[in-house]
């Protein structure tokens, strides 16, 4: 590949405008086995910014991503894509999971598999794959069976595979949770490049440092409730929510259940 192609990012920013965004969740609840795991959550995701979903384990970060992506259906409430191409929203989304799902095939075949099912012809596939391998530093591993890669390389491939689909929205569920700092760093660079290419990224993490490095917007989730949605700069300066404040201070959130209501309800109770 020549040097001019090297400088072009896989997806051209100028060509991007909202096709399926904004994504609107209204009063979404998700129940499983009688447990309410997502509680009455309303949020809107807009085109452009990188949204980080923060919260401790079990907050419902992964569930929220899956609800947005359509992998699970909400028990109550609605998940709606409100852009012009909403008849086929799935086509403009991709997702990277916490544990990379590697097909029992080579790196190239892993990439080409999903492109093929998105109806991309062979010539274009080859070109896209070359391009994406370069931008994710996987070129020298192209022919290696994906399952023999290190975890870091596997996750990079998973991200490359999702990116190659040229999604408008890319969901990532704690993509660096299992990675060491070096692998995390290289993946964060790729995430930055994907954002620059004009893809809306919605990712979850419980790594505050990562959220600070990447986020434009932060959602703070705790026990299935959305406690705060704020611009990253504002959130990291001083979050409004008291639980978010203690999360930011690195405190362990194991307060008793009574105090786990949203702040408004707490205030009401105190007033009574």
């Amino acid at each position: 590949m020549d040097s001019s192609a090297n400088e072009t990012l896989p997806n051209n920013v100028e060509n991007k405008s909202a096709r399926i965004l904004p994504l609107v969740l209204k009063n979404v609840s998700y129940e499983k086995a009688g447990m309410r795991l997502i509680k009455d959550l309303s949020v809107t995701f807009n085109f452009g910014s990188l949204t980080v979903i923060l919260g401790p384990n079990g907050a419902g970060k992964s569930l929220l991503l899956r609800l947005c992506h359509g992998l699970i259906k909400p028990s109550k409430g609605t998940v709606d894509w409100c852009g012009p191409k909403v008849s086929v929203p799935q086509r403009y989304q991709a997702m990277v999971f916490q544990r990379p799902v590697m097909l029992r095939r080579s790196v190239i075949a892993n990439l080409s598999h999903s492109l093929k099912y998105r109806g991309i012809n062979k010539a274009e596939r080859t070109q896209k794959i070359d391009n994406i391998l370069q931008h994710t530093g996987l070129s020298r591993l192209a022919k290696v069976p994906a399952r023999l890669l290190s975890v870091g390389e596997q996750q990079r491939l998973a991200v490359a595979r999702a990116w190659s689909l040229d999604p408008e929205v890319l969901f990532m569920d704690e993509p660096t949770a299992a990675l060491d700092p070096a692998a995390t760093h290289s993946l964060e660079n790729i995430i930055g490049a994907i954002k620059k290419s004009g893809t809306k990224i919605i990712m979850s993490t419980h790594d505050l440092g990562q959220a600070k490095r990447l986020a434009d917007e932060v959602l703070f989730l705790y026990r299935g409730r959305l406690l705060e949605q704020a611009d990253a700069s504002q959130f990291f300066k001083k979050p409004n929510n008291d639980l978010a404040q203690s999360f930011m201070r690195g405190e362990l959130l194991w307060w008793n259940r009574q105090e786990l209501k949203p702040p408004e309800q707490l205030k009401e109770r105190r007033q009574k």
Binding site: L71, M95, F97, V101, R104, S114, Y117, R118, P145, R147
Partner: protein, 233 residues
């Protein structure tokens, strides 16, 4: 020693691979390979589909399939016999006592094995792949082809298990084939016949070939699987 003599004669038969013996061995292979090939065409998609599709009665079908892995060959033989006999529903085809009848009987025996084992191994892989495939937007039928391809090495073991069953069974082919010399005589039926006639040399010779076949098939399965695991992880 009679057994010693019989064994020596059997080895001589095998080494010379005389035409009578060769004919029997080749017909056995032909019947079982065709039966397994057709059973694969039916059993692989059914097994993988059972792993992927969610529908009422899915568990019941899985249980029945598992139970059918142990179908008694003589019973299958009997049912196929009744179906193909002159007065049976497919009697007009005139298939009874032909190699085709034997192939049909073996298909009935092998398909449940292949379908049940395919379902088991595919289900494990589906658990792993499901979210990713659904995320890409792949429909269930395309998921089935992806799973079958990615599972190909453990499916080889499955297919060879089916082949082992087909080539080793005697009850079904005996009933529907009739063990007719030069027409439907295969290894297992002639072992049964020659043993009862007292021609231990031929019976032993065929027995040794059958054992060697089973051994090499299993060795091949093991080697392929092992190599694939090392290569593909």
């Amino acid at each position: 020693m009679e057994i010693g003599d019989a064994f020596a004669a059997a080895m001589a038969l095998i080494i010379n691979f005389e035409s009578g013996l060769a004919e029997i061995v080749l017909l056995s292979l032909q019947v079982s390979i065709i039966a397994v090939a057709i059973a694969c065409l039916i059993g692989l998609p059914i097994g993988a589909a059972l792993a992927v599709f969610q529908f009422p009665g899915r568990t019941a079908i899985a249980v029945i399939l598992n139970a059918m892995m142990g179908l008694p060959p003589v019973v299958v033989g009997l049912i196929v016999y009744l179906t193909l006999s002159r007065s049976g529903p497919l009697g007009t085809l005139g298939l009874l006592y032909t190699p085709t009848a034997m192939i049909i009987a073996q298909i009935c025996l092998v398909t449940p094995i292949i379908a049940a084992l395919t379902r088991q191994t595919t289900e494990d892989l589906w658990q792993e792949y499901a979210e990713h495939l659904r995320s890409i937007g792949i429909g269930p039928w395309r998921a089935v082809t992806t799973l079958l391809w990615d599972n190909r090495f453990s499916l080889i073991t499955t297919i060879l298990a089916g082949f082992g069953r087909a080539s080793a069974e005697v009850g079904a082919v005996m009933i529907v084939g009739g063990n007719i010399d030069h027409v439907t005589r295969v290894m297992t039926t002639s072992i049964a016949l020659e043993t009862s006639k007292g021609d231990l040399a031929l019976a032993l010779g065929l027995g040794i070939i059958l054992l060697a076949l089973a051994l090499s098939v299993n060795a091949a399965a093991f080697i392929i699987n092992d190599a694939a695991m090392k290569r593909h992880g």
